[in-house]
Amino acid sequence: MLKRLFDWLDERLGLNDLHRNLLDRPEPQGNWWNTLGSASLFLFILQGATGIFLTVYYTPSPDHAYDSIQYIMEGVAFGWLIRGIHHWGASLMVLIVFIHMLRVFVTASYKYPREMTWLVGIGLLLTTIGMGFTGYLLPWNQRAYWATTVGTQIAGSVPFMGEFILKALRGGPDLSALTLQRFFAAHIWMLPAALAGLIGVHLYLIIKHGESHFPTKED
């Protein structure tokens, strides 16, 4: 019965083809360092899921941002868990993505034909750091406020167009409600969309080229 149901679906969805082409790929000799990309992907999905749940209660307004997070932590069942996973997952994701990059560099996996995978990966690293930067402001506590003050001030030190960049980031000359709102928009819509798109390209390239062998002494 199940077999017939599966065959019916397979004929229409091509499940076996998907499995053969996407998952049943030849891999080099197993190595834990090769799992960091998958770990990053898992963390992205985890951050996405917990982030979506946080928006159920979070309010990106200077009046209520802090209070709404207090409410998540103390008023809502398991709010501390959802936010805790999002909080620690964020740090872990930056760390894992960075170690992933180091591994690719050390094993020289960025060489032909995988240069584009590396370049897309740089985009992924920068976007991930952008997620960290924008998410850091959202609790709207003293640390978040001053970290963003400093961070946007650094961006503003660019020669000639620094002031423009500062105003564009803050939505005006000062850190305000506009800053919080646009950081929120970037954090939940723009950057995740960019991240998802880049991950799609990154995964396509990995499936196309397969994973690289670890270099041996002869290499």
Binding site: F53, T59, Q70
Partner: protein, 163 residues
């Protein structure tokens, strides 16, 4: 003894069990997190002063209103409530106190002196002086505040219970 389990099946089995555990540990709290506000009980009750009894005419519904403030999440929300006191005779205990919240979809009804009925502006419902449904979609008569008392200074108070 049955055939020993092979390596591949063991890995599959443990992966399924661990995956299931992780899903349960993350999934169940998430459901609780989402439905949490629906599970909270808000059992508030209070005696609400609605006015001096001597100011209320006999035989004609006298409107009153009051506001309750609740803390919902991180915000204080003020909700308006209202009703009518009908003195059926000079006896200070002979009162009929109706809630002006229409029993259909919670609009506020008004007393029409011309037609001698309560009219709901939303769906044209009408209720009699006693709160019984005369016309329209409401499923039951207007709710009553059955517990009330008159203080020593002659102020009428009603007993209000949330929910």
């Amino acid at each position: 003894m049955s055939e020993p389990i092979n390596r591949r099946d063991f890995i599959k089995g443990t992966a399924a069990v661990i995956g299931g555990l992780i899903t349960a540990v993350i999934g169940l709290p998430t459901i609780a997190y989402l439905i949490d506000p629906a599970l909270k009980e808000s059992a508030e009750e209070a005696w609400i002063p609605v006015g001096r009894l001597e100011d209320m005419p006999v035989g004609r519904p006298a409107p009153f209103s009051f506001t309750r403030v609740q803390v919902n999440g991180w915000e204080r929300t003020a909700t308006s409530h209202g009703g009518f006191v009908l003195r059926r005779s000079d006896d200070p205990a002979d009162l009929l106190i109706l809630n002006s919240r229409c029993t259909h979809l919670a609009c506020t009804v008004n007393w029409s002196e011309n037609d001698q009925v309560y009219l709901c502006p939303c769906h044209d419902a009408s209720f009699s002086r006693d709160g019984e449904v005369i016309d329209g979609p409401p499923p039951r008569p207007l709710d009553r505040f059955t517990e009330f008392r008159v203080t020593e200074d002659g102020v009428l108070e009603i007993f209000y219970q949330e929910g």
